[in-house]
C-alpha cells in the first residue's frame, strides 16, 4: 500500500511542472499562438523566482528574520514577472510585428535557457557572495511546507503531502477550463484562435486577446519552473536540471487535447511514465533511458489518432501558428 502511495505521490510531484507549463500553453494556443518558447519561459520563471529569493535572503541579517509571507510573495511575483516579460517579447514579435511563430518561439527558448543557465551559474559570483552555488534553501522551506496531517497514512500521503504550488497548479487548470468553456471571455478567445478574421468582424479585439492569453499563459508556465526549483529541487538551482520538461509540457498540451482539466490527469500519467523506470526494481540504466521515450511516443499516437478521427472538439485551434493581419483577407 505504501509503495502505491509513494508512486502516486512521486508521479504527482513530477507532473506538476508539466501541468503549469501545459495549462499556460493551452491558454496561449487557444488564441492561435503556438508558443514554442515555453521551455525557455519556464527556465526564466524558475531563475527569476530564485533570483528574487536570493536577493531577499541576502538582504536579511539572519535566516530567523525571514518573514514567511515575503519569502513566498517575492519569488512568486519575480517568477510571474520574469516569465511574463519574456512572453511579452514573444507576443510583441508575433502579434504586433507578425513574425513567424515557430522561429520566434525557438529564439525565445534559446534565449530563455541561456538566461536561466547564465544567471544560475553566475548570479552568486556577480552578487559577490561567498557561496559558489546558487541555493535558496531557506526560502524553499516555505514552498515545501505541506498541510498538517500529510504523514497520516495513505490519504495524507497521496492528497496532502505537497507544497502549496501543487494545489495552485490544479486550481489554475480547473479555472482555465471553466474560463475557456463557460465564459464569454473564453468564447471570444476561442473564436480568435479558430478564425481571427471572423472574430474581428464580430467586434472582438483580436490583438488584445492574443496579447492577454500569451502573456498570461507564459506567466502561468513560469510558475512550473518556480515549482521545480523551489519545491522539487529544494531551492538548489542546477544548470540544465530542468531538462526537457518544457517540451514535455508542450507534448502534454496535445495529449490533453487542448483541455486543461484533462491536463491534470495527463500530467499525472506523464509524471508516472517519467518515474516508472526509476521505480521498477532491477531495471538497467540503459532501459531507464529507453522507457523515457514513452511519453513522446504516447503523444505522437494521440496526435495521429485524433487527426485521423477528425472530431471537431479535439483538433488544434484552426489558426494555430498563423499571424493575423486584418488587411490580408
Amino acid at each position: 500500500m505504501s509503495f502505491l502511495a509513494n508512486f502516486i505521490q512521486r508521479a504527482m510531484v513530477q507532473g506538476i511542472p508539466l501541468l503549469f507549463g501545459s495549462t499556460g500553453e493551452i491558454l496561449t494556443e487557444k488564441s492561435g499562438n503556438l508558443n514554442l518558447g515555453i521551455p525557455g519561459i519556464m527556465y526564466v520563471g524558475g531563475i527569476s523566482g530564485v533570483m528574487g529569493a536570493f536577493y531577499y535572503e541576502q538582504s536579511l541579517s539572519s535566516p530567523e528574520a525571514m518573514s514567511g509571507f515575503l519569502a513566498i510573495l517575492i519569488p512568486l511575483l519575480s517568477a510571474l514577472l520574469g516569465a511574463g516579460l519574456v512572453s511579452l517579447i514573444y507576443a510583441f514579435l508575433t502579434i504586433t510585428l507578425r513574425a513567424n511563430q515557430n522561429v520566434t518561439g525557438l529564439a525565445i527558448t534559446t534565449f530563455g535557457v541561456g538566461f536561466g543557465n547564465f544567471f544560475g551559474g553566475s548570479l552568486a559570483k556577480l552578487a559577490g557572495s561567498e557561496t559558489a552555488s546558487l541555493s535558496v534553501v531557506e526560502t524553499s522551506r516555505y514552498f515545501k511546507a505541506s498541510i498538517v496531517g500529510s504523514d497520516s497514512g495513505f490519504f495524507g500521503q497521496v492528497f496532502l503531502s505537497y507544497g502549496f504550488l501543487a494545489y495552485v497548479a490544479i486550481l489554475i487548470a480547473v479555472v482555465v477550463t471553466v474560463l475557456l468553456r463557460r465564459t464569454r471571455l473564453g468564447l471570444h478567445l476561442r473564436a480568435v484562435g479558430e478564425n481571427p478574421a471572423t472574430a474581428d468582424a464580430a467586434g472582438i479585439n483580436v490583438g488584445a486577446y492574443k496579447y492577454g492569453a500569451t502573456v498570461l499563459g507564459g506567466a502561468v508556465a513560469g510558475l512550473g519552473g518556480l515549482y521545480y526549483v523551489m519545491d522539487y529541487m529544494g531551492g538548489i538551482w542546477s544548470n540544465n536540471g530542468f531538462g526537457d520538461r518544457g517540451w514535455l509540457a508542450i507534448a502534454l498540451v496535445i495529449f490533453a487535447l487542448w483541455n486543461p482539466s484533462y491536463g491534470i490527469l495527463g500530467s499525472f500519467i506523464f509524471g508516472g511514465l517519467y518515474i516508472l523506470p526509476v521505480i521498477i526494481p532491477g531495471l538497467s540504466r540503459s532501459m531507464v533511458e529507453f522507457f523515457a521515450t514513452f511519453p513522446y511516443l504516447v503523444t505522437i499516437a494521440v496526435l495521429v489518432v485524433t487527426s485521423m478521427r477528425k472530431k471537431r472538439e479535439t483538433q488544434p485551434p484552426a489558426s494555430l501558428g498563423l499571424s493575423y493581419f486584418r488587411e490580408e483577407r
Binding site: L97, N102, T110, G114, F115, D200, N239, A251, I300
Partner: protein, 383 residues
C-alpha cells in the same frame, strides 16, 4: 494596434498610427533595414556585456573576432561549425518552402548520426572504402525515416507536422541516450569515447576539410534544385497554395512525402558528417541545438541557400565570439546563448519593417491635435 480602435469607438477617429503593406521597395532597402537591426542588436548586447563585466565594449568585439579568426585552427573549426549548421539549414529549406514546418531536424540529424555511430562501432575491421559509402547510405536512410513518418501522417490525415516532428526529436534524443549507455566506453563513464574505426579521412591533417567541401557542394545543388528543377517548382506551388497545386495537377501528397524524404536525407547526411567527419563520437548533444538554429537560419535567409551561408555565418560567428568573451571574461558558458537570443529578436523583428510601414495618424482625423503635430506629420508625409 490597428484593431484596437475600430471596436471601441463609434466616432470616426483614426488610430494614432496605422500599418500598411509596403510595395515597391528599392532592392537595397531590405538589406539596409537588416543591417540597422544587426547594428542595434550589437549595441544592445555590448551594453549588456558592459553591465555584466564592466569592461570596455570594444575589447569585447576584438575578443569576439578572436573567437572565429584568432588562428588558422580556429578559423577552420569555425568553418566546420558553419558547414554543419548550413547543411541542416539546407535540409529544412525545401520543407519550409512547402510550408511544412519540419522542426524535427535535431532528431533527424541524431538519427543519421546514430546510424553512423552504429556502423563505426559494429563493423570492426571492415575496409574503409566499403564502410564510408555504406555508412553514408545508412545515415541518409535513418534521417529520411525519421522525417517520413510525420510526412505520411500529414499527407493522409493532416496531422499537425510541427508538433509531430517536435516530438520525434525527443524520441531520437532518448534513443541516443539509450545507445550511449549500451556502448559506453569506458564502462560506467556515461559517454562513448572517440571511435577510431570508420573516420572520414583527414586532408593535410585536418579532418574538417571534407565536411566543408561536401556542404559547399550541397549548397550549390540545393540552389539549383529549388530554383531550376521541376521538383523545386512543385514545392513552391504547394507552399503558395495547395488548392492551386491540386488544380494544376500536382499530386500534393506525393510532393509532401518526397520533399520530406529529401529534407530528412540531408539531415541524415549532416549527422554522418558530424559523427564520422568531425566529432568521431556520438552523444545526445551531437546536434547541439543546431537542428533548431537551422530553422531560424533558413527562415531568416528567406529560403535562399546563398543567403543562408551568410546568416549561418553570422550565428556561428556570434556564438563562437560569445564563447570567447565568456572564457576571457570568466563568464558562464551560457552567455553566448543570451547574445544569440537578443540578436535573433532584432533580426526577427526587423522583417516587419521590410514588409510593412508604419504611418502616423492623418491630419484631418483629429483637428485638435493638428497644430501640435503639424511639423512632425508634414515630415512624415513628404517621405
Amino acid at each position: 494596434m490597428a484593431n484596437k480602435s475600430a471596436t471601441a469607438e463609434k466616432k470616426q477617429r483614426e488610430p494614432l498610427f496605422h500599418i500598411v503593406k509596403r510595395d515597391g521597395l528599392r532592392p537595397w532597402e531590405p538589406y539596409a533595414i537588416r543591417a540597422v537591426a544587426i547594428l542595434l542588436a550589437l549595441i544592445v548586447s555590448s551594453l549588456l556585456t558592459l553591465i555584466l563585466t564592466g569592461k570596455n565594449p570594444f575589447l569585447l568585439f576584438s575578443a569576439m573576432f578572436e573567437g572565429s579568426f584568432g588562428s588558422f585552427r580556429r578559423f577552420l573549426s569555425m568553418l566546420s561549425d558553419l558547414a554543419i549548421l548550413l547543411c541542416i539549414s539546407l535540409a529544412v529549406t525545401p520543407a519550409f518552402k512547402m510550408r511544412f514546418w519540419n522542426i524535427g531536424a535535431e532528431g533527424q540529424v541524431l538519427a543519421g548520426g546514430l546510424a553512423t555511430a552504429a556502423c563505426m562501432i559494429l563493423m570492426k575491421g571492415w575496409p574503409i572504402a566499403v564502410m564510408i559509402p555504406l555508412m553514408l547510405i545508412v545515415a541518409v536512410v535513418a534521417g529520411a525515416l525519421w522525417a517520413i513518418l510525420p510526412a505520411v501522417c500529414k499527407a493522409f490525415w493532416g496531422t499537425n507536422e510541427t508538433l509531430f516532428t517536435l516530438m520525434m526529436n525527443y524520441v531520437a534524443i532518448q534513443l541516443v541516450r539509450y545507445f550511449v549507455t549500451v556502448w559506453e566506453n569506458p564502462k560506467g563513464s556515461g559517454h562513448i569515447g572517440v571511435i577510431r574505426n570508420g573516420q572520414l579521412p583527414a586532408i593535410a591533417g585536418y579532418s574538417e576539410i571534407i565536411p566543408i567541401l561536401v556542404v559547399a557542394t550541397a549548397v550549390a545543388l540545393m540552389y539549383v534544385y529549388l530554383k531550376y528543377s521541376k521538383h523545386g517548382y512543385e514545392i513552391e506551388v504547394v507552399g503558395q497554395s495547395e488548392n492551386t497545386a491540386r488544380y494544376i495537377g500536382i499530386n500534393v501528397k506525393h510532393v509532401i512525402i518526397r520533399t520530406m524524404l529529401v529534407s530528412g536525407a540531408i539531415c541524415g547526411l549532416a549527422g554522418f558528417l558530424l559523427v564520422s567527419g568531425t566529432d568521431h563520437t556520438i552523444s545526445p548533444d551531437t546536434a547541439g541545438g543546431d537542428g533548431f538554429t537551422a530553422i531560424m537560419v533558413s527562415w531568416l535567409a528567406k529560403f535562399n541557400p546563398l543567403y543562408m551561408a551568410l546568416t549561418a555565418f553570422l550565428i556561428v560567428f556570434l556564438s563562437r565570439g560569445g564563447g570567447e568573451i565568456a572564457t576571457t571574461m570568466r563568464l558562464n558558458s551560457s552567455f553566448p546563448e543570451i547574445l544569440t537570443g537578443i540578436i535573433l529578436f532584432f533580426i526577427i523583428g526587423c522583417e516587419f519593417f521590410i514588409h510593412y510601414s508604419v504611418r502616423l495618424r492623418h491630419k484631418k482625423a483629429a483637428p485638435a491635435e493638428v497644430a501640435a503635430d503639424a511639423d512632425s506629420e508634414e515630415k512624415e508625409d513628404r517621405e
